[in-house]
Symmetry: C2
Subunit: 189 residues, 2 copies
DNA sequence: TCGAGTTGCCTAAAGTCTTTAGGAAACTGC
DNA sequence: GCAGTTTCCTAAAGACTTTAGGCAACTCGA
C-alpha cells in the first residue's frame, strides 16, 4: 500500500487547522486519521499520544503568535507598541480560535520553558521599557497586561460581548487607552 | 435492589466535588456513577446527557460565586468594594478550581440569561457606581474588570505565576491598586 | 541492482466513555 | 393491596485511545 507521507510536523499543522474548524477539544487522533484517509493506529508511528498531538499544536500556536507579535513590535514603542502587541494577540485569536485555545493548553514546566511562551514574556517586558517602571512594579505590570489581554480575548471569544452595545471593538480600544494611562501613572505601593 | 436515592441536585453537587478533585474536563457520567456505586445507565434517569451534567455544575458554580460576591459587597463601596469583589472571585477559584472552570463552560444564550451570570454583571455595575463613569464608559469598564479578574485568576490557576518573584498575592494587590486608579482617572475618548 | 534492515501503514484487540432500549423491582397513592 | 410511575438494571452499539504484531514499501551498502 502506498505510503501517505506523514510526519509529526504535517500532522501538527493539520491538527491546528482542525482545531480552528471544530474547536481544540474536538481535535482527536481519530479525526486526524480520517482527514488523511489513514487508519488511526498509523498515526501512533508519528505521535506518542493524543496529549502529544495537543502539545505540538500548542507549541505551534505559541510560535506563530510570538512571530507575529515580534513583527508588530518592530520599530514601535510606548502606546504604539502596546496596542500593536495587543492587537496581534486578539487578531490571532479571532482568526484562529482553535489555535488560540491550544496555546492555553497546560504544558509541563520543562516544555513550557522551551516554548515560545518565553518570547512572549520578553516582549511584554520590552513594551514596558517605554514606560517608567522598575522592579518589582514591572513584574506586576507584566501580569496585569497578560491578564487583560488573555481575559479580554477569552471573554470575547466565549461570546461574552456578543449581544450588547457598544460593540467589542470600541471597548477594546478604550481598554487599551485605559491601560496605557495606567502604565504612565502607575501608583506606587 | 435498594435505590440509591439519586437526584439531579445530588449528582450536580457530587459532580462539582469531583471537578474540584480531578478537574472539570475529567468529570464524566461514568466517574460519577462509580462514585455512587451505581451503573452508568442509571444516571440517565436524572441527567439528560454529559453536557447536561456539565451545565448544571456550571450553574451551581455561578450561583455560589454570585452569593459570595453579594455577601462581600454588602455595605462596601469604592475601592473597598472593588477589592472585596475581586477577592471573592479569586478565592473561590483557588478553593474550587474545578467549579471555577465549570463556571467558564459555554452555556447556550437562554441558559446564560437565566443563570447567576446576570447577577455578576449587575454587581460589577454596582461597584462602578462608586466611580464617576457614565455610559458607554461604564460598559467599557465592566469589560475591563471582567477581563482582569478572569484573566488573572486563569493565568494564576494555570500556574503562570508559580515560579517567579514576587509572589502572586503581591501582584494581585498591586493590580487592584492600579485598577482602582484607572477607574478614578478614566481617560475620556 | 539486489538483499538486509528500517520505517510506515495495516489488522486486531482491549479498555474507556456516551447514549439508547427495554425490563424488573421498588416506591406512590388511591 | 393494586395500578401506575419511577429508579435502577442488563444489553448493546458507536466513538476514541492505545498497544501488539505483521507485512509491504522504502533506503542503502555491497
Amino acid at each position: 500500500m502506498a505510503r501517505a507521507g506523514l510526519t509529526p510536523e504535517l500532522l501538527t499543522r493539520a491538527g491546528a487547522e482542525l482545531a480552528d474548524e471544530v474547536g481544540f477539544d474536538q481535535v482527536t487522533v481519530s479525526a486526524l486519521a480520517r482527514r488523511f484517509d489513514v487508519k488511526v493506529a498509523s498515526l501512533y508511528s508519528h505521535l506518542k499520544s493524543s496529549h502529544d498531538l495537543r502539545t505540538r499544536i500548542a507549541l505551534l500556536a505559541l510560535e506563530e503568535m510570538a512571530d507575529r507579535a515580534a513583527d508588530a513590535l518592530a520599530g514601535r514603542a510606548g502606546k504604539d507598541a502596546l496596542t500593536a502587541f495587543a492587537d496581534t494577540y486578539r487578531d490571532y485569536a479571532r482568526a484562529h480560535p482553535g489555535r488560540y485555545a491550544a496555546a492555553r493548553y497546560r504544558l509541563d514546566p520543562e516544555t513550557a520553558a522551551r516554548s515560545a511562551g518565553v518570547r512572549h514574556a520578553q516582549m511584554t517586558r520590552a513594551i514596558l521599557r517605554g514606560y517608567d517602571l522598575t522592579e518589582p512594579d514591572q513584574t506586576h505590570a507584566v501580569r496585569l497586561l497578560g491578564s487583560v489581554f488573555h481575559g479580554y480575548v477569552d471573554l470575547e471569544l466565549a461570546g461574552g460581548f456578543d449581544h450588547s452595545r457598544p460593540d467589542s471593538q470600541e471597548s477594546w480600544v478604550r481598554v487599551l487607552d485605559a491601560l496605557d494611562a495606567t502604565l504612565r501613572n502607575w501608583p506606587s505601593a
